[in-house]
Symmetry: C2
């Protein structure tokens, strides 16, 4: 089964200013592929028990197995490390061009260790790897940083960079890719890990071709497949994710006023992409090799935020700075999005922090004395933008919010935690588990915390079909029956995309395990089946769980925040619904082959080829 195909990683030790090559045998690549899979294998084996911001914490940039090939939407890279925000497993996936460029330069991934004494950036090209001085870049925002590097090294260079937030180790910092195109590895604060290493950016230029085992066969497949993908994902092509606000609101899935309200029809209309893109669109864009083209660049030439030139806010950003802050002024969202992208802040955790702060202010737990005089009224533009800027600058009240809502709530004390909507310290993405109850089981168990991308089960509820998965009819979105199984199935399935470097929107085009297995066979020559793909997904999910088990995670952490567990939406399509999380977890753990405490059983680990992670088990008491 093993072919001559193998991986080649770049190892960088910033403390010693050393770089070297590391080969990954084909067998290892087959077992974990690339992306978060291979990264998890490395991070588990080479686990260092330190503060995530210590130099010893490795930071891995890992394109997927198919990234950079002609496979459609195979653009993606995952950044992995232990999160400084949550203290547990973190992965943050990003599109754009950087990953394909790295593969072109001959590298399947980068492992960064140590910390530079002074600010540096990495410059990687076909010929060489160099650690360069970044003292003139330090302090620049992510757009300026990209421009400065490209001005020096050529416009074809692809740049991943942190902004001032990451430099200041703000715990919700992102790593931004491709400058104004605004591709973000946002979740879990990996920008702070990069900042703690004094690593401002990684610039890449590659000219090689990513090897493909049977290019002819692959091209033949794609000739049939790409038009289908293009057609099925046409909705995404027109407005991108920004076009989803109204539909999400109609499903009772849009969080409103820090997840308390049920309906916001007018506001959704005012803030959705359909309303704003026709006015502000500069150009359509795409990530590397993607036929879907969901990326929308805008330029504001007038109005209070004239001068903004960058990516239109994605759905999550519109929901977070819009509905969830009760703000229906889309220009304010664009401005907040611009700040987040420049500072290098996760728009989900940042906007969640603003909504959290507004509710604390309303409830009197935070006053003008705490905010330095700033009034935090719901929907207030100045409040939104000032807090966002403060989070980026790590100053004022925003410095506290920049630690994430769980940490901030602990410091604020009293009952502030009631208003933090998180799992395992990661703020919820903006899809409501009360609207699609299967998302409750997903959010509660996802390895990085309240992540929506791990299962995307709401798409299943909305009628999208996955070939081979067996959901002929959309599940009843509000019932509590069988929702543990949906989360289980979809997590395993969705866990294929990341290691392959595939965009999950292929799911919208009904790309299933069979199709992906075909691509993998053509690219690598490995004789893999659709079942192998599903097993890969399951293996990786369990591997990351074991990483967390070692850190003390168990069933006690697999939970919903009180607001989503015991507070029903008062109106809208999902009014009155509350997920029965206990029942779902009981079902879910059994399907997973985990103990009732949420710990993978030995036979499960053996079945998935993860026996070697067993040393973590005694720590979990099993």
């Amino acid at each position: 089964m093993a072919s001559g195909w193998w991986g080649k990683l770049l190892e960088v030790d910033l403390t010693r200013r050393a770089t070297w090559e590391r080969e990954i045998p084909a067998e290892e690549m087959q077992k974990f592929a690339g992306g978060s899979g291979l990264a998890a294998s490395i991070l588990f084996r080479e686990f260092v028990d330190c503060n995530p911001l210590d130099p010893e914490n490795p930071l891995i940039f890992m394109p997927g197995l198919l990234t950079g090939t002609v496979v459609p939407s195979a653009s993606r890279t995952t950044v992995c490390s232990r999160s400084p925000l949550t203290g547990i497993w973190d992965e943050s996936n990003v599109g754009g061009y950087w990953g394909a460029e790295l593969k072109s330069a001959g590298w399947d991934g980068i492992i960064i260790r140590g910390a530079a004494e002074k600010p540096v950036y990495l410059f990687i090209s076909d010929e060489s790897v160099s650690i360069k001085d970044a003292s003139t870049l330090w302090g620049k925002d992510t757009f300026e940083t990209e421009e400065a590097i490209r001005a020096e090294a050529g416009s074809k260079v692809k740049v991943a960079a942190i902004g001032p937030a990451g430099e200041r180790r703000v715990l919700i910092s992102s790593i931004m890719f491709d400058g104004r195109l605004g591709r973000a590895a946002g979740r879990g604060g990996l920008g702070a890990v990069m900042g703690a290493k004094n690593l401002k950016a990684i610039a890449v230029k590659g000219t090689g071709r990513v090897p493909v085992h049977d290019l002819q066969a692959l091209r033949a497949m794609l000739k049939q497949e790409i038009p289908v993908i293009r057609e099925k994902a046409a909705g995404m092509t027109q407005f991108g994710t920004a076009g989803g606000v109204q539909a999400v609101e109609a499903w009772g899935d849009l969080p409103i006023k820090n997840w308390t309200l049920g309906s916001w029809e007018e506001g959704a209309k005012k803030t959705t992409g359909q309303t704003w893109l026709p006015k502000a669109l500069d150009s359509h864009h795409t990530c590397y090799g993607c036929p879907i083209r969901c990326s929308k660049l805008i330029r504001l030439d007038s109005g209070p935020y004239a001068g903004i030139y960058g990516h239109f806010p994605e759905y999550e950003t519109l929901a977070g700075f819009g509905a969830n802050c009760l703000n229906d002024d889309a220009e304010v969202i664009m401005a907040a999005n611009d700040l987040c992208n420049r500072y290098g802040l996760d728009t989900i955790s940042t906007s969640a922090g603003v909504a959290f702060a507004m509710e604390l202010y309303e409830k009197g737990l935070v006053t003008k004395e705490d905010t330095g005089g700033l009034e935090l009224q719901w929907g207030d533009a100045e409040a939104i933008l000032t807090l966002t800027r403060q989070m980026g600058e790590k100053e004022g009240f925003g410095a506290l919010l920049g630690e994430g809502t769980r940490n901030a709530a602990r410091k604020i004390g009293r009952n502030a935690i009631e208003y933090s909507v998180h799992v395992k310290g990661l703020e919820f993405a903006f899809h409501d588990p009360r609207a699609f109850t299967s998302m409750a089981a997903n959010y509660a168990t996802e390895n990085r915390g309240a992540c929506h991308l791990g299962a995307l089960t709401y798409f299943l509820g909305r009628g999208i079909k996955v070939p081979d998965l067996g959901y002929a009819e959309p599940p009843d979105v509000l019932s509590n029956e069988g929702k543990g199984k949906i989360a289980y199935d979809m997590q395993n399935y969705m866990s294929i995309f990341n290691p392959m470097g595939l965009c999950k929107f292929l799911f919208l085009a009904s790309v299933g395990p069979t199709q992906i297995a075909g691509w993998v066979r053509a690219v690598t020559g490995w004789e893999v089946t659709p079942d192998d793909m599903m097993t890969l997904g399951e293996r990786l999910f369990n591997l990351k769980r074991m990483y967390n088990v070692r850190l003390g995670i168990s069933r006690k952490d697999d939970k919903l925040p009180p607001r989503l567990m015991s507070h029903a939406r008062p109106s809208g399509k999902s009014a009155g619904s509350l997920p029965h999380i206990g029942k779902m977890l009981d079902e879910y753990y059994k399907l997973r082959g985990w103990s009732e405490e949420g710990i993978p059983k030995r036979e499960t680990l053996k079945r998935l080829g993860l026996e070697w992670t067993e040393p973590a088990l005694p720590l979990a008491g099993l």
Copy 2:
């Protein structure tokens, strides 16, 4: 409405060795009655923010409003303080003779403040109150202490005393009443508060008559009522609570092997009162003025534990040291019960600690190295008795368990907390919220933690009727519909018994608010209605909630432990059932007039005459 009726409390400051009288106006008595109601009013108004084991923490002994009168089963006293086990509101209710004796001596309650320099006991009689040296009593068990005091002061003296556990400030210590009769104020570690005050015992002798407004009218009522009570509660008369094990098992309500199994038919038969009482019974007993007579004294003349002479284990003790430790040897339970009563340990928290330890041992989180060589096999007699003794002595591994399972789990670390079955730090009583789902809402919200007595909703499920409450048919015990309402109704109703000093087993005889209101009118002359009674219950429940709100309690604390939320029983009548706690809480908070965060709203406080507790609200952010 107010009559000349008032309350007279004894104030004791052990630091200053001072005692004085305090009058409680009739208005205050009407609003809070006695027992935990009046105590809550005092503890809220005179709140001291200190460690519960500091001298400043007041400890209140409060008989009920009707205690000591001819009203049936009006024997009860509540001990109240801030719990050293949970850190929040605690009340522990006890029958026997002590409360009636205190009332006979002319006192409606005692407030103990400060701490004596050396061990003392209080001696209270009609004529006088004295603080006496207890240096010869210190170290004695509760039976010996009672005997020594009665030997000195006369056999009619009624004694409340702590054992060695309370002296050593073991956090699950009880206060024991009436010596071998084994009446216990068990829950929440109030024995440790008494021990921290260097107060070994309170001995009381009274000869007066408890005043009754219209004794003739009362006697006329009782002539009709007592035979009915006697007849309806006949089951309790024969075997006491000990007779319930098999029925509880059949309902799928008996916790087995630290709440993991579903059925234990043979074991239930071997350990129930029906099997053992005929062999071991010495005599039937009763608390003051009770026609039910559920108390059973036993004497073991042979076998490994020959010499035991005391109360037969109550249902909770049989379940805790029996099924939940997977021990079907009733003699071992009797021996453990004897140890608990002598050391002064809560049998629920003690046996829960043993089961918890056995599971940790099975899972490898605790080893022989931790236990000093003791093997903690399920059901092992030596393990059960050694750990119990160690908890009483505060030595070995038992010293850790004596801190309660939540605290012990925190110190053991890793995932030990998965095996601690508690709410707010108080171990669950042994009725399963998966068998009677309404108990989930009750356990999650009870003011002292996982208390079964606050609502006793399982009796409703088993067909007991409460006049005036409107449950004509028993609710479906496993459904999740309307269970927040049942908890709400039953908590309000059950909250009447305690301030009145009434035994809750009157509920088994269908004593409802109307009957109780009649008794109150006869005893006090107040023109109270059945609705007034229900409002009293609701007021007191909210008052205690406000005490906890001040300490930071909110919705986040109203939860079930993972084992009962997400792990279904594998067999038996309640197999597969899991309570939908989120849904219940949503319903419950609305009925209570609490915010979604579980904080009483201002209008609720106003309606219940609790506006004066509002200063606690800003602390809760509302």
